[in-house]
Symmetry: C2
Subunit: 348 residues, 2 copies
Amino acid sequence: MSETPRIAIDAMGGDSGPAVMIAGAALARKEREDLAFILFGDEEAIRAELIRHPALASAVEIVHCTDVIAGTDKPSQAIRRAKTSSMGRAIAAVKDGTAHAMVSGGNTGAMMAMAKLALRTLPGIDRPALAALLPTLGDNDVVMLDLGANTECDTRNLIEFAVMGAAYARVVLELDRPRVQLLNIGTEELKGTDELKAAAAVLRDADYLHMRFDGFIEGDKLSRGGADVVVTDGFSGNIALKTVEGTARFVTDLIKRAFASSLRSKFGFLVSRPATRLLRHHLDPNNHNGAVFLGLGGLVVKSHGSANDIGVANAIGVAARMVSADITRRIGEDLANISAHNVPAAAQ
Amino acid sequence: MSETPRIAIDAMGGDSGPAVMIAGAALARKEREDLAFILFGDEEAIRAELIRHPALASAVEIVHCTDVIAGTDKPSQAIRRAKTSSMGRAIAAVKDGTAHAMVSGGNTGAMMAMAKLALRTLPGIDRPALAALLPTLGDNDVVMLDLGANTECDTRNLIEFAVMGAAYARVVLELDRPRVQLLNIGTEELKGTDELKAAAAVLRDADYLHMRFDGFIEGDKLSRGGADVVVTDGFSGNIALKTVEGTARFVTDLIKRAFASSLRSKFGFLVSRPATRLLRHHLDPNNHNGAVFLGLGGLVVKSHGSANDIGVANAIGVAARMVSADITRRIGEDLANISAHNVPAAAQ
């Protein structure tokens, strides 16, 4: 697509509200000057922040909304406020075509419910999934899904996640035939739940898909770089993702403690500062921010609630890349491909 | 108990067989001179290793067995070889009282199946669970269970795991009232599966138990030190445990790369060597080796298949501490306590 990507921003979502969302948009536009934004939220608060980012002001439109979905609101409460809340109206802008994608740092469950209702799932998709990129020791990041949108998943869901994850990897990792694996508690064929075993059996034979299915992967191999896409149910996926984040923080905290333990170590740490800065850059979740709802009839990106301006800019960057790559159409094509091969739509 | 703890060792289990198992026993006995061992496996191979550890020779008895359970054997195949295999006979020694505990680095599924058949579960326990200690930033390690013995768990299983995990924490962490949490994808009461919500409701009201139930914990808080016991189903637990291991290794590999990136960083690294050594010590899985099957009528400890001699010595140390603390009796008392309070035995 050659049009200017227009991104709808829920300016009120996230722990720090408009300040961080608008600073993030300003940063994203420094990197891609063709971006335009529609900012949804309290107009006065938004204008107050825009003063700090004069270069951004020419590229934004503001849609005033007073209603904000809170982190504690249940999805069922949120959907009743789809027409009044900043989150709901930003999603509606994707539906009616005024925006190409939407970014929010707000309540994930509410976002999922509102996005599913407004944008519908793609034909052939039972449930959308939340996907994100994790750092690895390999040449690429790894795409992981589902990260918490679906607590329990059946065989068909896992197969759909594999197809959607592979399509996403083809776009964001620029791979022709991504290596896909299912997260499991062992790599032998007899390991894991019945749903996993049945999904593996289908994917193993599906050589018409744009992926190479490599069987099961265990939690300790997630960061090794041997897989491009890791597929799992939303419960295990959420636990694995947060465990990666928590352990990375744990280890870096240990490092800080260890280096502060003696004058000699402190000195060594100072000398090695370029190395530790590189490390911090690689592990900072802000550099991997931007989880995507795959399988919807429109582009919706979740920014971490605690992301800083760099994190928000990365989430916006993810949205913009997906707009340019026309990912919704590409996932649709892959799904049509499975349907043509008669994969059981109701396989359990 | 004042008797000499006698530990049955499956000398053939684990990636490196007798060499590492016997070196580990020798190391464990350096730390606790009151330990005695019964070594099960190929007598010739065992005697060849014992030559390297003359101090150990006076404290061991050898039971010759030629049959070894392989890592690829299914549990159903293994149990037919309970009377011939080194693993099966070491478990039988716990059953007939010749040993107080058993340690193996072999096939986990086979071990679970054989131990359950030979030792039975404690009265009131539906399924045993695999528990281990993970490092944290707090004062204590955290006990985590189940780590893969039970792929799917119902409410009653989760409650039993909480009780067994708390009893274990009282012994190994020497805590009077361990803080127990259920692993979940959010901390609000409405998050997670029905099984988790029901288990939380029972534990919240069970103030007669020797624990403080603190609700749900997410994956990113596992290493923070805010919980003494983390309870989960075997699928998520195995994924979380391996993700911790994999991420810790990922970060330390990144550190190595970062410090090797320039001469200046290399110099800093050398100067800080005491700090990095401390770090490596804290993160080495060998220092946390020894997962315990809780809920059985006898003590069975799983050593990691790839553990080195330090790892095996730690697993033996765990077994010896549990023997001295008479943990089987203590878990039995706690379970009787729940039964007396009429917790629904068949709650789903």
